[in-house]
């Protein structure tokens, strides 16, 4: 992730005007909140952002992810939400959840479940309330430097104003999944969200995050940064569903820290947005850690979908599993970038990374970069990547059994795409996600 001394960037006029625009947005945001510490913080990030600016295709990490289209729309932080009761109802899955609703990046008390009657040991707080620098806001920013190293992380630091802070006390096991719905209701709006999830010793939680648009023609921009901390023996099951309208943009960055014997299981499902990028930075800093990162993405039209993981094994006996599947139709572009880094001394590591891609059309494109960086000798690490089209043999097999061409193709594609969902432990949640994917596939 390190880049060597970069020469001063020459920005294109489009990129420069976008940088100027977002700097002005940060000023506007600061004008709304006169807390001096916060204003100073934003100012310092703004200085960095002005220097760092937006990446171009010359940057190794952005070689395959074109953002020029994104830069052409300026997404504002101001605006009035247009809330539609029906849209809120549609957000709920067919199983019991604790529902938190965020409208255009801000927590909505009215539409969310009551936060006053939470199970013991669980605390949920909107970041806006926690955003009190005098009360030690620093607690929100363990990864601040690393977040700001990422261009969109830096933008997030500069513009975030709300999000969710979830903390679980030791041994607190929450049965009911928490569902955070991030709803877009305004065209041209920037929703900048900062979350933090902390699980204490032995705590357990299922967290579902969904990004949805209220109308199908909405062009908005979701920029999420989540910090996740898992203490010893903690167990987090996480699902991120990105189901935005196909015009918008989604940038998700997750910084995950795991302590001894903790379990992190994350599944990302990508369906919408013109440009989306979901990125996990996972540090497995202690012994006997288990992690699973999977993703299923379905891109069509001119969508660009980018999934990336950076997994660092820093201690003995770590196990990491990854399965990333991309299905690409029309002129869609898929990008996968995975890195497993095994530190010196992280012996007995078992790391596996698989990336499989299916190209459904002649014009679809996939760029894959599965990487290994290994400094310990007694490890089991492998990665695999395969790309291709639907096998004619499989189609023939199905057709020989009286299934028509279209259905046969759909069946094969569906079977291919749904495999990463097997990592979801609850059958109901799995079915809900599968349903979302098949809906798009059949639509």
């Amino acid at each position: 992730m390190t880049t060597l001394s970069k020469p001063m960037k020459k920005l294109s006029p489009v990129a420069q005007s976008a940088v100027d625009f977002y700097l002005a947005q940060a000023k506007a945001l600061s004008a709304r909140n006169d807390q001096p510490e916060l204003v100073a913080f934003r100012q310092s990030v703004a200085e960095r952002f002005a220097q760092q600016a937006f990446p171009s295709r010359r940057d190794e990490d952005w070689k395959y992810t074109p953002i020029t289209g994104f830069l052409q729309t300026h997404y504002a932080v101001e605006g009035l939400a247009k809330i539609d009761e029906a849209a809120i109802k549609k957000l709920l899955p067919p199983f019991d959840v604790m529902h938190l609703v965020f409208i255009d990046g801000y927590f909505s008390e009215r539409y969310s479940d009551d936060l006053s009657e939470l199970p013991r040991g669980l605390s949920i707080e909107p970041v806006k309330d926690a955003l009190d620098f005098s009360q030690g806001h620093c607690a929100l920013m363990t990864h601040e430097q690393k977040i700001q190293d990422e261009p969109f992380g830096c933008l997030n630091s500069m513009l975030f104003d709300d999000g969710v802070l979830i903390t679980l006390d030791p041994h607190c096991q929450v049965e009911r999944p928490i569902l955070c719905s991030f709803l877009q209701t305004q065209d041209g709006h920037a929703n900048t969200i900062r979350n933090r999830v902390v699980l204490a010793h032995g705590a357990q939680l299922t967290l579902i995050q969904q990004h949805v648009s209220a109308q199908p023609e909405l062009n908005a921009f979701d920029n999420v940064v989540s910090e996740i901390e898992l203490a010893e023996h903690a167990n987090l099951q996480q699902i991120v569903l990105q189901d935005l309208a196909t015009q918008g943009a989604y940038f998700g960055l997750q910084m995950i820290d795991q302590a001894e014997k903790s379990v992190f299981n994350s599944v990302y499902v990508g369906l919408g947005a013109a440009l989306s990028r979901h990125q996990n930075v996972l540090m497995m800093a202690a012994e006997h850690i288990e992690s699973n990162q999977s993703s299923a993405c379905l891109a069509s039209g001119k969508q660009v979908m980018d999934t990336r993981t950076h997994t660092e094994h820093q201690a003995w006996w770590g196990v990491s599993r990854q399965l990333h599947k991309l299905v690409l139709d029309d002129q869609a572009v898929g990008v996968f970038n995975g890195m497993i880094k095994v530190h010196k001394g992280a012996q007995k590591t078992d790391g596996q990374m698989d990336n499989k891609n299916l190209l459904l059309s002649k014009t679809a494109q996939i760029d894959s970069k599965p990487q290994l960086e290994i400094y310990a000798d007694d490890v089991k690490c492998s990665h695999g990547s395969a790309s291709g089209q639907i096998s004619e043999e499989q189609i023939f097999y199905l057709r020989a059994r009286g299934i028509n061409q279209t259905d046969a193709r759909r069946l094969v594609t569906q079977a291919f795409l749904l495999e990463p969902l097997e990592a979801v432990s609850s059958p109901k949640t799995q079915a809900w996600l599968a349903n979302k994917l098949t809906q798009k596939l059949n639509g």
């Binding site: 894959s368 599965p370 990547s385």
Partner: protein
């Protein structure tokens, strides 16, 4: 048992054993240009070789472009930026008898071997390189000593078949049309930093042309020797296989033990026409430097081949054991339909060596196929990186690629990395990539030792087994040499 003690014995052995048998230095009269690089030096090199105007123009164009470029540092190798003014860009042994630099270009068409400095001849003899035409070896050799080619054997026999096998400087004089037609077509002078540098100060190299329908009966080979301290070697090799021809080309190299880094930046261009096949094998054994890799060779090589016509086949095989830093990506541009590209590599790093090597397979034509087998072995405190690109363009209907990268770690202080880039723009392509990492297991060693095989032999057996898929692609003598090299370089490093 801690990890560090596990390899103790082996590391002890290794530290005792660091012979680099090619590390001797030849004392001979040499003509060496002063250190430094500027336009005058470029002109002087060209004048020294009495090159025609077009070659000088090519050099100057490249030099001007090089001055605008920055040294690339994206490879996974740590080195201080190179001071290009601290190297000499031309060095040639002088004939003691005629007091003239042994520049064969000056001898014009004189095909009798120029009188060679006996010291240079001795050097090649002790390296085991047959530079005498009278030898019966089934191989033709072009021997390059610092900046010039000192001998090319069997050329008359080959000429009868219409095969051109000569040094690059000679080719510039004798076959200017061919050189002009092909130079810079596969690796343009502006391709990258080191290719531009090479184009500007290219010393010598080998030129091979196989006419249509000819199957070259013997292996062609070039041996590169860097002798002078603080000189750079910049050879330029062009191999052209015309329609339906076949050639197997080998390349070997070594350098004396020095205490300062030496620079080697070569460019190799291979052009394979319709139905032709080229097998290009390299055993790279440049001086890796002392225990900290001080004084080793900095090896920055651009090798690229193009399968121009239908059914062409280009196969790269390399055994990389030397150099302090290796930066090398032999590539195939598969332009002709049904053409085949292959890359077989064994890269071994020990001590503090750093190797960043791999390949690029660019699929353009229909039904093009490529295979990549890369075996990386790292020992000591070294870093071994595979970096490769497989690119399928929309026109490459039915393309197929298989990539396998296996790394073996020997010791817990070294690193093995895999950075593959896969870009697919055609759905009918089938791309597979797999990579694994392993080590020599104690159980494997125990099994062998229990059956009376010494630890060293067991290690060598396991390592050779690991590399077998690549070694079987090397021509016989080379395979043996590579195996021996591997044994020497690894001696004592494994536990």
């Amino acid at each position: 048992m801690t990890q560090s003690t596990q390899y103790q014995e082996i590391n002890d052995l290794l530290s005792k054993n660091k012979h680099y048998k090619e590390g001797f230095f030849t004392k001979t009269l040499v003509q060496t240009f002063d250190k430094g690089l500027n336009e005058d030096i470029v002109r002087a090199i060209s004048a020294k070789k009495s090159e025609p105007q077009w070659m000088l123009d090519f050099r100057l164009k490249a030099f001007k472009h090089w001055q605008t470029m920055v040294e690339p540092h994206w490879a996974k190798a740590d080195y201080t930026p190179i001071d290009y003014q601290d190297y000499s860009y031309y060095s040639a042994p002088e004939c003691s008898s005629c007091n003239q630099a042994c520049d064969k270009a000056m001898d014009g068409k004189d095909h009798s071997q120029p009188r060679m400095d006996p010291e240079v001849a001795k050097a090649f003899a002790s390296l085991g390189v047959p530079i005498d035409d009278s030898n019966s070896a089934n191989i033709a050799v072009d021997a390059i000593f610092d900046s010039v080619s000192v001998s090319t054997t069997k050329r008359d026999d080959l000429a009868k078949l219409g095969i051109i096998f000569c040094s690059f400087s000679e080719a510039v004089h004798d076959y200017p049309e061919l050189v002009q037609q092909y130079i810079g077509t596969v690796v343009p002078y502006h391709d990258n930093f080191f290719a531009a540098l090479n184009s500007a100060v290219a010393s010598d190299g080998t030129f091979v042309y196989i006419p249509p329908g000819v199957r070259c009966p013997i292996d062609l080979s070039t041996y590169f020797r860097i002798n002078e301290a603080k000189t750079g070697q910049f050879e330029r090799t062009i191999v052209i296989a015309d329609k339906g021809s076949y050639v197997s080309y080998l390349e070997g190299c070594s350098a004396p033990v020095r205490d300062s880094y030496q620079l080697h930046a070569a460019v190799v261009e291979v052009i394979v026409h319709e139905d032709a096949e080229v097998k290009y094998s390299t055993v790279q054994n440049w001086y890796p430097g002392d225990d900290d890799c001080q004084g080793g060779i900095l090896n920055f090589v651009t090798k690229r081949g193009i399968c121009e016509g239908k059914n062409a086949k280009l196969s790269w095989t390399q055994a990389e054991t030397g150099s302090a830093i290796t930066w090398k990506y032999p590539s195939c541009i598969l332009k002709g339909d049904n053409s085949i590209g292959e890359f077989y590599s064994v890269a071994l790093t020990n001590r503090r060596q750093q190797a960043d090597t791999g390949t690029k397979m660019i699929h353009i034509g229909k039904n093009t196929r490529s295979t990549i087998i890369s075996k990386g072995l790292s020992a000591g405190r070294s870093d071994n990186t595979y970096r490769g690109l497989v690119k399928i363009l929309p026109s490459a209907e039915g393309a197929r690629n298989f990539t396998q990268c296996d790394s073996m770690l020997i010791g817990d202080q070294c690193g093995a990395h895999t950075f593959p880039y896969i870009e697919v723009e055609n759905p009918s392509a089938q791309i597979e990539h797999e990579a694994t990492t392993s080590r020599i297991g104690e159980d494997q060693l125990f099994y062998c030792q229990q059956r009376g095989i010494s630890e060293q032999d067991a290690i060598s057996m396991i390592v050779n087994g690991f590399c077998k898929e690549v070694f079987k692609e090397l021509p016989l003598e080379f395979a043996q040499e590579a195996e021996e090299l591997l044994a020497i370089s690894l001696e004592g490093s494994v536990g």
